[in-house]
């Protein structure tokens, strides 16, 4: 670099800068106005339609959480766009009177900007961490699997236990409070706390009831418990969200949240209809070892206790009492 070129620029820079409008304040003003308008608009107009909806308490909570995240993200997005847009408009090369780019110390660092950036992002990240943690705890696990001994249990005195059994490549459902009947379709009652007990007969699957905002891994010989409380009737899509083999993509089915009376009618009818089948099923247990039926494919140990202890649901102090959907 020739000093002939850099010296005049260095000398002219302060003068040129003094002639410039206060760009930073302009950008902040534009950003503030846009964010103040768009953020509430987004929250009140788009927010109610953000997935996963409001079918359960988890779904409502998660929708709220997503909205909070998006309300925080929208101003950041606007800041980036405003800054870029402002730069493109104000310092485009075809615009007359634009000073040459300034090098030197000012281009290398700006202490206030750096501190401001670090402090702002730190506050945002730590704030979101605290927010997420609190929401996870107060939301009874927020619809996620909590393992066999849940830390966060619902406050409801009664729950409807539903066992979800993953198998390559379909989910089936057992209802221990209805004689242990097993069905191919998930039906649950409205305005009821549900305890999903998720397990697998082979590889790892993941039970994802999208509209219920429930997602829990299905591990063989593990009872993974997830809670939710239904708030609305409607259709539910259940998908496996863990790559589990060639037909993983086909491992989905549909369920319903129905009124309590409809659920009671359906459950009793199905219990009677499947009685012959239920009688032949293994006794209800929280987990199953396929070797019990010699259907092990040669990969399970022989001569083991085939089933976990069939805990009487609700017998454990502090755990909710099961109900038949009422």
């Amino acid at each position: 670099m020739s000093t002939d070129n850099t010296e005049p620029a260095g000398q002219d820079a302060p003068a040129a800068q003094a002639d410039q409008p206060r760009h930073m304040w302009r950008i902040v003003a534009i950003w503030f106005i846009l964010a103040a308008i768009l953020d509430p608009l987004f929250y009140f107009l788009v927010g109610p339609h953000v997935p996963p909806g409001t079918m359960t308490d988890n779904a409502s909570d998660n929708q709220f959480d997503f909205n909070i995240l998006l309300v925080i993200a929208v101003p950041v997005l606007i800041a980036v766009w405003v800054y870029l847009g402002y730069c493109i408009v104000m310092w485009r090369s075809t615009r007359k009177g634009v000073p040459d780019p300034v090098g030197g110390p000012q281009a290398r660092s700006h202490l206030k900007v750096q501190v401001g950036w670090i402090v702002t992002t730190t506050i945002m990240v730590l704030g979101l961490f605290l927010f997420g943690t609190v929401r996870l705890i107060t939301g009874n696990g927020s619809g996620g699997g909590e393992g066999p001994n849940p830390i966060w249990t619902p406050t409801s005195a009664t729950v409807l236990p539903v066992q979800v059994i993953g198998q390559q490549w379909k989910f089936t459902y057992r209802y221990p409070t209805f004689g242990g009947m097993e069905t191919s379709q998930l039906i649950i009652p409205d305005h009821t706390t549900i305890a999903f007990h998720v397990t697998s007969l082979d590889v790892i699957h993941s039970f994802w009831a999208y509209q219920l905002s429930v997602k829990a891994d299905a591990n063989p010989q593990q009872d993974n418990v997830a809670y939710t409380e239904t708030k609305e009737t409607g259709n539910v899509t259940v998908r496996c969200s863990e790559l589990c083999g060639i037909w993983h993509g086909a491992m989905f089915n549909y369920g319903k949240v129905v009124s309590k009376s409809d659920f009671e009618t359906w459950a009793k009818k199905t219990e009677a209809l499947t009685a012959a089948n239920t009688k032949l099923l293994p006794p209800f247990a929280w987990t199953y070892v396929p070797d019990a039926n010699n259907a092990d494919g040669g990969y399970y140990p022989d001569n083991v206790d085939p089933y976990s202890n069939a805990e009487v649901y609700g017998a454990t102090p502090g755990k909710p009492t099961p109900v038949n959907g009422q």
């Binding site: 390559q168 191919s184 032949l280 092990d296 494919g297």
Partner: protein
Amino acid sequence: MSFGGRVSVVLGLLVVVIGFAVWGVVGFLLPQPPTVDFTSAQTPTGAIDMTVQTVPAIGFGYQPVWVSYLVKNPQGQWIHSTVWKLPAHTRINVTIDQYDSGSPLRNQQWWRVQGTLGGQATYNGKPLSVYDSNTGNNGIGHTFTVPALNLSVPLVGVDGNATNTCGSAPCTTNFDHNTMKFSFMTPGAGTYSWQCFVPCGGGYLFGNGGPMTTLGYMGGFLDVVA
């Protein structure tokens, strides 16, 4: 490492990458099971009659010992395919000749007949709604299950003490077998996967590899068209 050594490593890795690429492309281009078209095979009543068989060993191809389904096309030929084209909203009358032996089920839910017309099937001419595979010598050989339709029929296995068993496909009814018959209605147009729910891929992880994960053997698609 010397320059020559480094060049050798790079070339070696290049060969591996090219090898994987060629393997992937060739695998993609390999022929898939043919689609057997039943859309013009409707009987005067509007229904479609299908005849299917399950065999303990296909007897040919690159995996001759794998269990498999076969289907008889409208021209009466046995086709080794599990991709079947069917018209929408049509009654399908299915006859499955099951030549394989059976075993207990991993999930006994699959010994219940589900989703068929009337909620039943027939097993060698007798009505069947639930088959207890833990009793007798038969067990369940396979199932014909379309998860999206909640349709499932257990295929009762051939007696484990049978001596006149079929060794390779296509099997004739002279061999020991069980015949399952049932009917179902096709839904609207779409592609519906179906599979066997007995982990019959012996020698593979959880019994669900090999023929259970290869199109054309123990799973396929109902290609339902409007």
